[in-house]
């Protein structure tokens, strides 16, 4: 991390903390889009973090950009920062104009597919996707599809499609897209060679892993602080060995999410290199962090007791995100099967060499 990225990191952390007040988080849960918060995030240039400088972006390294996603996640800030960073990166990779406001990417689930076919000078885009994050808020939606042996990015204005609103457990928008659209020729362009159709899923999973790690670390901090301040039987509950053992177990899972997020972020640096679009590090990271998320949320609630189960206490803003994000952009089982297939294909003699490539 260089000096610029350290400044960006520290300023962003302060901004996220300022913006994500409980009052605004409750409003977001009620369905209010926090445009002022987005404007501040955009003013700092954060949605362009992953776009190379020569393409008009900030050009942060993947690990630093993932750090921003984790940092925003510690506050549960209800804006599509990760999605817009990724959408802009896809647009830059394809040489298409960057998004001017919040943006997102699709598909966001393993089974969903779009088809692109040439129609005269333009393209016909057809298909559907479930649970597309923030689609109803985004100004632009970057849809990735295969055509003519290539993987292409299509830049679609939200006003041309009508997302069907949905929500996740944390009440963030997760919307359904049905697309049957004629696009001009200059709205579609190929992504770099080597990229596969599972690319948007891998990108999203890499950043969800970072977000899980951020939220997990914050939940641990909150839970340790609560254990030190809440007294029962005449002493802080954190002095009881049973509680200490639970918190230690939780800390191990939080450490695992950190390792997982670092591994997954490697994909963002590597995919534009020859042979670098291997989703294995993302699969490992997302599966491991997803598994940890449930244990972390469970222990946090156990230690917080009844107060942590209320809507008034802030813990649920983070635990509901842990429970949501772990199943987004491919759940644990999806990524585990991918890893398992690679392990089985490597075979008994190839297993260790496979693990040491990471």
């Amino acid at each position: 991390m260089n000096e610029t990225s350290e400044i960006v990191r520290d300023m962003s952390a302060r901004l996220f903390a300022d913006l994500a007040t409980p009052a605004r988080l409750y409003e977001a849960e009620a369905g209010v889009w926090d445009q002022p918060a987005w404007d501040r995030v955009q003013m700092m240039g954060l949605p362009l973090a992953l776009v190379p400088e020569e393409a008009g972006g900030v050009g942060l390294e993947a690990a630093d950009a993932a750090g921003l996603v984790a940092s925003a996640a510690t506050t549960a800030l209800p804006v599509p920062l990760a999605e817009t960073m990724l959408a802009n990166r896809l647009l830059a990779d394809a040489g298409l104009p960057l998004a001017e406001g919040p943006a997102t990417l699709a598909p966001a689930r393993p089974g969903d597919r779009f088809t692109l076919e040439r129609r005269g000078a333009g393209w016909h885009l057809h298909g559907g996707a479930e649970r597309v994050p923030w689609a109803s808020i985004a100004g632009d939606i970057v849809i990735v599809a295969e055509a003519e042996g290539q993987v292409l990015a299509a830049r679609v204005a939200r006003s041309d499609v009508t997302p069907l609103p949905g929500r996740n457990l944390a009440l963030e928008p997760r919307d359904r897209l049905e697309v049957d659209l004629e696009l001009p020729g200059d709205a579609v362009a190929p992504l770099p060679a080597g990229i596969t159709i599972c690319h948007p899923l891998a990108l999203g999973a890499a950043f969800r892993t970072a977000a899980l790690a951020g939220a997990a670390a914050r939940v641990l901090d909150m839970t340790v602080a609560y254990a030190n301040e809440r007294s029962q039987f005449g002493r802080p509950i954190g002095k009881f060995q049973a509680v200490q053992q639970s918190l230690a177990l939780m800390a191990g899972q939080v450490a695992a999410t950190k390792g997982a997020a670092d591994l997954a972020a490697g994909y963002l640096d590597a995919y534009s290199q020859p042979g670098g679009a291997d989703p294995l590090p993302v699969a490992i990271g997302k599966a491991r962090a997803g598994e940890a998320a449930g244990m972390i949320a469970a222990i946090a609630h156990q230690v917080h007791g009844a107060i942590g189960f209320t809507h008034e206490h802030a813990l649920h803003f983070l635990t509901k995100r842990l429970w949501s994000w772990r199943d987004e952009f491919g759940n644990d089982a999806h990524w585990q099967r991918l890893i398992g297939r690679r392990m089985a294909a490597a075979g008994p003699e190839g297993l260790w060499p496979l693990l040491t490539t990471l």
Binding site: A63, T74, G214, A217, R218, L220, D221, V224, A227, N228, G238, K239, Q241, V243, Q244, Q245, L247, A248, L249, A251, G252, A255, A256, K258, G259, A260, D262, L263, A283, I284, G285, A287, R288, E291, D332, A333, W335, Q336, R337, L338, I339, G340, R341, R342, M343, A344, A345, A346, G347, P348, L351, W352, L355, T356, L358
Partner: protein, 381 residues
């Protein structure tokens, strides 16, 4: 986020060449070693193999050349260790000396002790055991009762050490015992370099639940130690022992103990496992890959001279969970009745793993002790 950092591991220059060299060596040396032996992991003892490793410069490889070392980085050493463990190489003979006795001697030993012992350790010809646990002092290490008393020309030791792995095949023990008053739990202890051929020392093997004899009871009855046997500073034993533990707790041996079983599981499942089996394999793969990353990160911290005791405890606690899960998950996927020594390799490997798994969360600090250390690191104690 404030509690513990795991900086990205460094890829040392020449790492790929070193890894290839070690793999080549192991492929030749271990060609005839069956999986039923490889599963013994770092409990497998073979003095000849240790000597060959010493000849290759892969023991004490980070130590100064003047003491027989190779002045390689901790991260290069890590590559050698993980390759040895993944291959199921029999490394027990030299493991303790390479991992902690040697580094302790380097840090605390006199010039004479270092010159006398380190080159022999690095050559794979001098093996060590750890004299910490006692009958009434397991997790509560500060409760040791073995005592060294000053004599005219040295020390006289009385007491009993227990669970001393490979004491019967080691040349030296690093003895942790009391030299001061019993009131001073931590301050009144010291460490000694004990030549196990001295009179007054009786080593009795203890069979573990599988019938194997690798650990021992070591009884000291008026055992005379020369004055030169004191290691480090009298009364500083507790601090010296604590310093050893970060080396002991974060290495790849803390998550690879049953790796050979995972290899055999993949062999048994073949090239087209069920979706359920794929998910189980993938889950284990995700755990091992993340643990390896965290463990390499700790190796980097150790190289920088940091004291990552908390991170090391986290890695060991997570690692033991996975090592113990592998045999439990394997039995869900492959219908076999485990049996030690069976001609059926999977049966034999699974049998060994099940019988040894309880030790993974006991040795080197129990799960409960580690979680206590983590709780302290979190600011709960």
């Amino acid at each position: 986020m404030s509690h513990f950092a795991f900086p990205p591991p460094i890829h040392p220059p020449g790492a790929d060449d070193l890894r290839a060299e070690v793999r080549q060596f192991l492929a030749e040396e271990l060609a005839s070693r069956p999986a039923s032996q490889r599963i013994k992991s770092w409990s497998g003892y073979d003095a000849d193999f240790s000597r060959k490793l010493g000849q290759r410069g892969w023991i004490g490889m980070t130590w100064p050349k003047e003491y027989g070392g190779r002045e390689r980085s901790a991260l290069e050493r890590y590559i050698v260790l993980e390759e040895l463990l993944a291959a199921g190489a029999p490394v027990a003979a030299h493991w303790i000396a390479d991992r902690q006795s040697g580094p302790l001697l380097l840090k605390e030993g006199t010039e004479e002790q270092k010159r006398h012992l380190l080159p022999r350790i690095a050559a794979g010809e001098c093996f060590f055991c750890i004299g910490m646990s006692e009958p009434d002092s397991g997790s509560d290490l500060a409760a040791v009762r073995t005592r060294a008393v000053r004599t005219q020309d040295g020390w006289r030791v009385n007491g009993t050490k227990l669970w001393t792995t490979y004491a019967h095949k080691s040349h030296y023990m690093i003895l942790y015992c009391r030299t001061g008053g019993v009131d001073d739990r931590h301050g009144g202890t010291s460490q000694f370099l004990v030549d196990l051929t001295l009179p007054g020392i009786t080593i009795r093997p203890i069979a573990d639940l599988s019938g194997e004899r690798h650990f021992n009871e070591v009884v000291f009855e008026d055992a005379p130690l020369p004055a030169s046997a004191l290691l480090g500073t009298e009364g500083n034993g507790w601090n010296q022992v604590m310093g050893e533990l970060a080396y002991e707790r974060s290495g790849p041996e803390r998550f690879l103990s049953t790796f050979v079983l995972l290899v055999e599981l993949i062999r048994a499942l073949g090239t087209d496992p069920s979706d359920q089996a794929l998910a189980v394999l993938g889950r284990l793969g995700s755990h091992l890959a993340v643990l390896r990353r965290l463990s390499r990160s700790v190796a980097g911290l150790l190289q920088e001279g940091a004291n990552p005791a908390l991170q090391a405890a986290l890695v060991k606690d997570l690692g033991a969970i996975v090592e113990q899960e592998i045999p439990e998950l394997a039995r869900q996927l492959v219908a076999t009745e485990p049996m030690l020594g069976s001609d059926d390799i999977f049966q034999a490997v699974q049998g060994y793993a099940i019988l040894n798994a309880p030790a993974f969360s006991l040795r080197g600090g129990t799960r409960e002790i580690l979680r206590g250390i983590i709780a302290r690191g979190l600011g709960l104690r």
